[in-house]
């Protein structure tokens, strides 16, 4: 129906997290480069709604199991009707279904599997056998897959890019202090992320008393929603921190919240890349994270932020106090972070890398 290159993104998960957001950003960015993106997801998936509202064509299909033959048949039909050149799969189930369909299709589309997460994989098939290439969001995830036996030459690292302009262009400070009725000289320390146990918010709360002892003007800000919300509220009460911690819930004005912070702290225990850090750095804020997953790739220790061991509130408290005591260093790190993100984590860079990958895979296919 069109002579443009068509990429089909498949996603079996229903939610709207970092993974789905990256997929939609790639769809939009790659469209600017002349490739036609289409999406296949279950009929109730949030990605489908968001993609449609951004003008991307969305197909739906139930994905009941890894070997749902009706779903494989649907994928085969969409591959044919939409003249798909490349299939990019994102979660476990759709990687099986679309991977199988891609390998069965007489169109012989290129199959790419994007691995967004750092957690353990359950099956090697959807990395080693079905796709022609695996894309990981960080070197850390690549190395993990290699350790699991996925051939290294099949894996390409394309770090997640963010809309840098949205965070970096507006240099004015955020207005969170006014919104929360805080003193202009309050020190804001916190994070924007989903409230999941592995994000380690509780470690910052545990470190809070030692920080407040030295810097009583500190106010901790936790933006985001998620399953840990009630647990965190309880911890705040138990530690007697109700006066110095503000839970903001889900925020659409992420950039404004970040630009209001003096210090971004997210003691996450597992992270494929750490897009939350990328966004904070783009907003010009110094960051503190843990030496886990892809975080050390994002945060240049001592230059754009500090890293501490995971699950160590004492070390975390030391790092926070160290940076709160030194405004100049903090601002220097924030500026360095912004520069680093512009060169390494822009959505344009990510889409260009994916575009180049697609082109080279298509060239390989027609050549071989």
């Amino acid at each position: 129906m069109t002579d443009r290159v068509t990429v089909l993104h498949t996603e079996s998960s229903l939610g709207w997290g970092g993974q789905e957001q990256r997929t939609l950003r790639e769809c939009l960015g790659i469209r600017e480069l002349g490739i036609r993106p289409v999406v296949l997801c279950p009929p109730e998936a949030e990605l489908g709604r968001r993609a449609a509202s951004a003008g991307i064509e969305v197909f739906s299909c139930r994905m009941r199991s890894n070997f749902d033959l009706a779903a494989v048949r649907t994928v085969l039909r969409i591959l044919r009707e939409q003249a798909v050149d490349i299939v990019n799969t994102h979660s476990g189930r759709d990687s099986f279904l679309a991977g199988i369909a891609g390998r069965l299709s007489s169109l012989q589309p290129v199959v790419v599997r994007t691995r967004h997460l750092a957690m353990a994989i359950t099956s090697r098939i959807s990395y080693s056998w079905l796709p022609h290439r695996v894309v990981t969001v960080s070197r850390y995830v690549r190395e993990y897959l290699v350790r699991e036996g996925v051939p290294g030459e099949r894996i390409v690292v394309v770090p997640t890019g963010i809309d840098v302009g949205k965070f970096a262009e507006d240099r004015a400070p955020g207005n969170l202090r006014e919104e929360l009725g805080l003193a202009p000289d309050a020190l804001l320390v916190g994070s924007v992320s989903v409230l999941r146990r592995k994000k380690g918010h509780r470690f910052l709360l545990q470190a809070a008393p030692s920080i407040l002892a030295e810097f009583p003007r500190t106010v901790f800000v936790i933006a985001g929603a998620g399953p840990q919300e009630n647990n965190l509220r309880k911890t705040i009460r138990d530690l007697g921190l109700s006066g110095s911690v503000r839970m903001l819930g889900h925020r659409e004005d992420v950039s404004n919240v970040l630009r209001s912070l003096d210090l971004f702290v997210l003691p996450t225990e597992e992270e494929a890349l750490g897009t939350a850090f990328v966004e904070a750095m783009a907003a010009g804020v110094a960051v503190i994270g843990c030496r886990v997953g892809g975080v050390p790739e994002v945060v240049q220790e001592g230059e754009t932020g500090l890293l501490v061991p995971p699950g160590d509130p004492a070390a975390l408290g030391d790092a926070v106090r160290f940076l709160l005591a030194d405004g100049e260093r903090r601002r220097g790190m924030g500026a360095a972070g912004r520069r680093a993100v512009i060169t390494r984590y822009s959505v344009e860079g990510m889409c260009k890398a994916m575009f180049d990958l697609y082109r080279s895979l298509l060239a390989e296919r027609s050549g071989g």
Partner: protein, 379 residues
């Protein structure tokens, strides 16, 4: 019949879009207008539509002016017709369009596109339908779409033939604060308190062959009332439709409020926007419901749900092998038999104006879809 390249990025100051079809079709064209506005933000967009359908586009910020084509005056023939046609072409030409888009496949839009004086003219390839040389009227031709493509995507395909990508696949329907106030007042007068959950039940259509049984609709009304959701029966203004709505209300033991025949389409949209659910036949109000984002259960008979299912931007997955049947996509549901003769394109079985495929739908099928859509669980 060559189709030249994309016009995206060119200087386009005015655009004329022809959508000379029914009310529902006009609403389904709103994503095409969105795409044009996004591609050419400063361009003045003129919509040419049939009389009676303009409410679907009024208030839409993607459209600057609506030119109404008066079919009735045209049908009078003779001098009145000529005057109408000439006046239309004159007002069209006075806007100096650079781009004309014919979203419909009829001859009229094709001729008007040509006469508009636009440099670029986009339409659907006639493929030997229509008059000889019709394709010569266009500079950009969209290949004839697959029969099973949704009407929204068909319109977007026409625009895409000129190199303009979709910007948002969702429908847009606008109403004013006055419509909203009137809707709230009518609901209050019908005995519905502001916080009370209610559902709009639209049992009628201008075409009786699309209508389900009155017993079935009465059953749905009772089912909703039993779930603590007040059913509000609506219909078009025709006395026959109002009477039908009233009979259904009576059959359900009067357990419903009625606004049948008393609302404009804009006011109806405002009512539906505050409803928990819409249940109805394939009709303009059903499309309005999808456009305002209210969970919609659409009862389909012999017409193609593949073209006209309630649209949220997500493909419904109907194919040549399985062109009909009950489906759940996003917030909405289609209830339809999987009879081999669907779609038949006929005005009821053997010209009776009644369709067995819709009359045979069981109450359990519709009430089951209602429950599933209300639960928000669609798997």
């Amino acid at each position: 019949m060559t189709t030249p390249g994309s016009i995206a990025g060119m200087e386009i100051r005015a655009i004329a879009v022809f959508m000379l079809r029914h009310i529902g079709d006009t609403l389904l064209s709103t994503p095409a207008f969105r795409a044009l506005r996004a591609a050419f933000p400063p361009a003045r967009v003129l919509a040419v539509v049939n009389e009676g359908t303009q409410q679907m586009l009024e208030g839409n910020p993607d459209i600057d002016e609506i030119l109404v084509f008066h079919r009735r005056r045209r049908d009078e023939g003779g001098f009145g017709r000529w005057r109408e046609e000439a006046a239309l072409v004159r007002s069209l030409r006075s806007t100096h369009p650079d781009l004309a888009v014919n979203l419909t496949e009829g001859d009229r839009g094709a001729i008007l596109s040509f006469l508009s004086g636009a440099r670029f003219r986009v339409g659907v390839a006639p493929n030997r339908r229509g008059f000889l040389g019709k394709e010569m009227l266009f500079t950009h031709l969209c290949p004839r779409p697959s029969l099973y493509r949704h009407a929204v995507m068909r319109d977007l395909d026409v625009v895409a033939a000129a190199g303009i990508p979709p910007a948002d696949l969702r429908l847009r329907f606008y109403f004013t604060d006055r419509d909203r106030e009137k809707a709230a007042r009518m609901l209050r007068e019908a005995g519905i308190a502001p916080e009370q959950p209610f559902a709009v039940v639209q049992p009628t259509s201008r075409w009786t062959f699309k209508c389900w049984t009155e017993d079935g609709m009465a059953g749905v009304v009772s089912h909703l009332a039993g779930r603590g959701i007040v059913p509000v029966v609506t219909s078009g203004p025709a006395p026959g439709e109002v009477a039908q709505a009233e009979r259904i209300r009576e059959r359900a033991g009067g357990r419903a409020a009625s606004l049948a025949g008393r609302l404009s389409l804009k006011e109806l949209g405002a009512v539906i926007a505050s409803a928990r659910l819409f249940v109805g036949v394939d009709s303009a109000p059903m499309h309005i419901s999808a456009a305002v984002g209210t969970p919609t259960v659409a009862i389909f008979g012999p017409t193609g749900a593949f073209n006209w299912a309630p649209w949220e931007g997500i493909d419904w997955g109907y194919t040549a092998e399985r062109p009909a049947g009950t489906r759940f996509v996003g917030r909405h549901a289609v209830v339809q038999k999987e009879t081999a003769c669907i779609p038949c394109g006929q005005d009821g079985c053997e010209g009776t104006k009644k369709s067995r495929c819709v009359e045979e739908i069981l109450l359990e099928e519709v009430s089951g879809a209602v429950d599933r859509v209300l639960a928000g669980v669609v798997s």
